[in-house]
């Protein structure tokens, strides 16, 4: 059994807070982009059972160029996971918004991004470190 405060544990990046802030900015960008794309491109009146998967695909596709840009700036698996999750979820939810404006849809998408990043951040904090199997 190992502990998560093992003194021999590796040091992390030099500026973790800056990276984490970047991840949050990525999450907001992915959410706003995916939601706007799905809201614009999925026709009004499309039945929900079709609009949601369609929006999901549109959301992922729309998030991909943003992913390439942000990944080039300061990428990592953190950014990849965000793009996949948020593209799907924000894209899926956006066609359900009736009577919104581009601003409100972008805000809603960014909100989805923020929630996803908060959840991933919490999960990462719970998992980071040794996971056992270490020799005595």
């Amino acid at each position: 059994m190992t502990t998560r405060t093992d003194p021999a544990a590796p040091a992390g990046p030099a500026h973790p807070a800056a990276l984490r802030l970047f991840d949050y900015a990525c999450a907001l960008s992915f959410g706003a982009t995916a939601a706007l794309a799905a809201w614009w491109l999925v026709p009004d009146g499309t039945p929900g059972a079709l609009a949601m998967p369609l929006g999901m695909v549109v959301g992922v596709v729309a998030a991909t160029p943003v992913l390439f840009l942000l990944n080039w700036i300061l990428g990592g698996f953190e950014v990849l996971m965000l793009a996949m999750q948020i593209g799907m979820l924000a894209g899926m939810a956006a066609p359900m918004i009736r009577g919104g404006t581009p601003g409100s849809v972008a805000l809603a998408g960014a909100g989805v991004g923020l929630v996803v990043q908060l959840l991933l951040h919490a999960l990462d904090r719970s998992l980071h470190g040794d996971v056992g199997g270490r020799a005595p």
């Binding site: 030099a14 080039w72 300061l74 698996f77 953190e78 999960l123 998992l127 996971v131 199997g133 020799a135």
Partner: protein
Amino acid sequence: MSGAAGTRDAAIRKWNRAARALDTKDRGEELRYGPYKRWIFSKARGRTLLVAAGTGIDFKYLPPGLEVTAIDFSPTMLSFAEKRLGESASPVELVQADVTALDFADGSFDSCITSCTFCSVPDPVRGLGEVRRVLKDDAPLLMFEHVRASNPWLGFMMDVMNPLVRRFGPDINRRTADNVRTAGFRIVREFNVYLDMVKLFEAVKA
């Protein structure tokens, strides 16, 4: 051409094409994961096999005092890596080789390093078996790898996205810990870097 050879040749072509992009896009990954790589690589000793040298982006994390043989099956990757030889604190010899068919004698290395390697080897268990063969009995296998997340939702997402991602890059849903054990290693330390999808492994022969 056999199926395995065809798969390997397709993989070589894919990574030849990806070399230039990989050489430029890794700035963020180096900031995020560089310290972890430096830490795991510091455990290497003596004659060391670096599997999948790629563009040599990890040479700067190699500690002094090693005698490194860095292999990659992509000649384009190696041409990029050649320009980075000076970044290593230890001498590095570049060899074009496929980890699933190594041309080294049994028990000829004191340690082995991998860095995002077994996400891209077409037959990872066979590759790890070859690594096991060329390592001495007490030699450590030191790995920085990304793997399939154990969280059911995240794992499912990775399974869904993998067919698309693997067309341009690595597989993102490899169960590398299982593959390491299947190949005859015992994992003595496993460390989660990001979620449980970016990991460090230390393993020895079982």
